[in-house]
Amino acid sequence: MNDTGSKGRSQNVSVPSRAVSAYIAAVLLGAVGLAALAWRVHPLSVNAPFRSDVVTLVVLCVLGVLGSASQERNVGGRIGFSFTSIILLAAVALLGPFGAAIVGAVTYLLVVNKQRPEVRLFNIGMTSAYGAIGGFVYLLAGGTAPESSIGGVWPLVLHVGLPMMVADVAQCLLNAVILAGIVRLTKGTPIRRFVLGMLGTSGPAYIGYGLIGFLFVILWVPAGVGPASALLILAPLFVARWAFVQYGDEQRAHERTLSALVAAVETKDVYTRGHSERVAQLCDLMAGSLSLNHQDTEALRFAGMLHDIGKLAVPTRVLRKSDQLSEANFASVATHAASGAEMVRGIEFLEGSTEAILHHHERMDGNGYPAGLRGEDIPLFARIIAVADAFDSLTTSRFHRDAHTVEDAVVELRRYAGAQLDPAIVAALERGLARHTWEPTRLEPTLMATAGRAFDHDDPAVSDLMVGLASGQRAP
């Protein structure tokens, strides 16, 4: 169907419980009943144009099977095409409720993908049922079988286009409700929440399916192209789908490349191994609590992943230094924020992240570096990264202490809220942690030994040590 739908369909029902079996049986029985009713109301024309109706039925069934075979792969970015929806909708207009019920059933009966028998039965029942329902709604909404005699824009729009749209909406709703039922039984998700969620993610796509289905029907009958219209209509869609798949692959490749290379840079500093990745995850978690939009969340995640990239410009011997750091050493460490921002400048998609990288060591009291910004003047993303940074530092083991537990770390963070960290963001982190589990990072003793007594610039206590330095450094 769409991404949500296909997930719902191919889910693993390990051992179908009695309730689930009964539900599937009910859906199947309902589908058979609807098909019988459809035959009574609007049988396939068996007389004069018999051959053409049967040809249409066969062609649509073949297309349905091909379509369902090509749609299971997740295209990524919440974009999925449902060729089956388009074909089922065309069947509604071209063949009526009975034909649509048959196309729906055959599509999932012959679907090539491997499916558990009960999932297959359920899909057959569901798709057939909403094929038939779509057909009834189409007829009720004033739809007529498109004849080649129908010409002109208005008759086509009123008697084919609009009824198809109405049938489309009905199918979308029915699909959501039947799926919600099975998900309720197997996973316990409330029906209302599932339906609303599904309408939100895939509702808009159905408008597109309606329109494309309408175009398909027009080309098939009034334009007289017949079955060959499938090739013409579906060609641009297949190309679009191909491009979306490529896009998804490249996007994943891009993210993996970025994080792997960043991880490589981290090898300079044993303490920070995996730190960037964890900060990025924490940022993601807080973005949820602060209800940032998709684009901002992405920018924040990248900023979190790259916030310490500037350390590459800090001499390794300073990063690994174990005895007391001199003021010059502190100053050298402090440059990493500015050099990090410098490094990512020029990457278009990181434009929103540069500021955050530059200012992630500012403090609410204005004693941070590099600019000594105060309170709300510090960019929001920078305040978020500061909290994630401090939290990860506290929940990671250090040579002088064990890793804090999540609860202890939160207590610590509250202590620093106000002077160093933004209390609102700390609260957002707490809300996020309430929804997700977080494991403290306990480093292996051997790793700790190689790390030696290197100091950690992210430790909130170190930030207090560095305060004096920033005031000396601040721009006049």
Partner: protein, 433 residues
């Protein structure tokens, strides 16, 4: 690079040809309106106007496909449909000639180009000229070229079953768009000094999906016009809109990927491990040599990434090598840096080919000659380019350049692949001109 010097005549040439085509077509249209009483444009005006607007909009939303191609799928499909329209609304046959199609398309393209000119975005005249040429071919084939008994396809088609007409339309579109790809390949291979056949293969591969989508959409619109009238034009362009959106997304992520790799390649420079600009200079030289040697687009991309990242292994060093020049480091150190870099890149899980190239970047060419080792061409290219840049440095004087080339020639056949060194010499010669 000398492309600046060469681009001008090529762009001017295609611009002049396109202009001549446009003026000729426009003159023919005006002549017909003036001289032939039977030629009445008035019933066609709504169709012409909608096609005009569709082409303008399509041009405004031009997309750059992965690589350096620029296309305007919606505009091209609309123009193709315009070229193959058989019947305008109310059942009047569309009896206009190819001249009207060419003139209207050219005019609409020019209007659609205006916004990007105003915004100062670079645009290529040759891209537009190639598209116009494709539309001209389609319009001529469909409306003018006599197929049997001196009658064109447009004259022959009444009474044909629609699916046959659809087939003819798709074939004509496919042919016309292939002509466009050939022209684009000529332009591109002149620019990058790559063999024509290789460039054509790359271009055709990249364009084949869009050719199918465009051909189908052009036929769709043309076939839907009789029942739906001008409404068919926006409605049936809708599926292609999705295609265009997807292609745009795809090229954005491709560009982003490139930027990320380029930035990551600068990390070793900002960390003081390598000379500023070294990675990008090596990449640029490698790219030119790769084209020169006829590598495929996919291979050239891997080559470019490997060249950009070839020194990333240095981040694992505690202290930078003096001057960052790996060519001066001990062979064992060179190998270790190459190995560490390849390991880092392999961690991504998606750049395995790049890692293989990087791994072998220090291997001597004699390994191939004497031991029959399989050394990727890309690695050999990077080895030569890296050595050249390390020895010649930033903006070298001719004397320094000659010295660098001389040192490379000393290692010819033993250390370096003679074919690659030859290509480097040719690329450097071109830069001189």
């Amino acid at each position: 690079m000398s492309t600046q010097a060469r681009r001008l005549p090529l762009e001017t040439l295609s611009g002049v040809l396109a202009l001549a085509l446009t003026v000729g077509a426009a003159a023919l249209v005006i002549f017909r309106i003036r001289a032939l009483a039977s030629f009445d444009l008035r019933p066609l005006l709504p169709v012409v106007a909608v096609f005009f607007v569709a082409i303008v909009i399509g041009e405004v939303f031009r997309v750059s496909q992965p690589g350096t191609r620029h296309t305007a799928p919606l505009a091209t499909a609309a123009a193709l449909a315009f070229a193959m329209t058989v019947e305008s609304p109310h059942g009047t046959p569309a009896r206009y000639g190819a001249d009207l199609v060419v003139a209207v398309t050219a005019f609409a393209m020019a209007v659609g180009l205006a916004p990007s000119l105003v915004r100062g975005r670079p645009s290529r005249v040759s891209d537009l000229a190639n598209s116009l040429a494709a539309i001209t071919v389609a319009a001529l084939l469909f409306r003018e070229v006599p197929i049997s008994n001196g009658r064109s396809l447009l004259d022959l088609q009444p009474g044909w079953p629609p699916y046959l007409l659809a087939l003819a339309m798709v074939l004509i579109s496919g042919f016309a768009l292939t002509v466009e790809v050939i022209l684009a390949a000529v332009v591109r291979s002149t620019r990058s000094h790559a063999p024509f056949l290789r460039t054509f293969q790359d271009e055709f591969q990249a364009a084949s999906g869009l050719i199918a989508a465009l051909g189908a959409t052009g036929a769709l619109v043309a076939l839907a016009e009789p029942p739906l009238g001008i409404l068919a034009i926006p409605l049936f362009l809708f599926p292609l809109g999705l295609t265009q959106f997807a292609v745009r997304r795809q090229s954005t992520i491709r560009r982003t990927y490139g930027q990320t790799i380029r930035t990551l390649s600068r990390l070793t420079e900002l960390g003081g491990y390598t000379e500023p600009g070294h990675a990008s200079r090596v990449a640029e030289l490698s790219l030119a040599i790769g084209h020169q040697l006829g590598m495929s687009e996919r291979d050239v991309l891997d080559l470019e990434y490997a060249a950009l990242l070839h020194d990333i292994g240095q981040v694992s060093l505690t202290e930078p090598i003096p001057g960052g020049a790996t060519v001066l480091a001990a062979p064992a150190d060179q190998r270790r840096i190459a190995h560490d870099g390849a390991e880092i890149v392999r961690q991504t899980g998606v750049l395995d080919k790049v890692a293989v190239i990087m791994e072998a970047q220090t291997t001597s060419y004699r390994q191939v000659r004497e031991l029959g080792e399989d050394l990727p061409l890309a690695s050999r290219i990077i080895k030569v380019c890296n050595a050249y840049d390390d020895m010649a440095g930033v903006r070298p004087t001719p004397a320094r350049r000659n010295a660098a080339m001389e040192r490379i020639h000393l290692g010819l056949g033993y250390e370096y692949d003679p074919r690659v060194v030859d290509a480097l010499a040719r690329v450097l010669d071109r830069e001189d001109q």
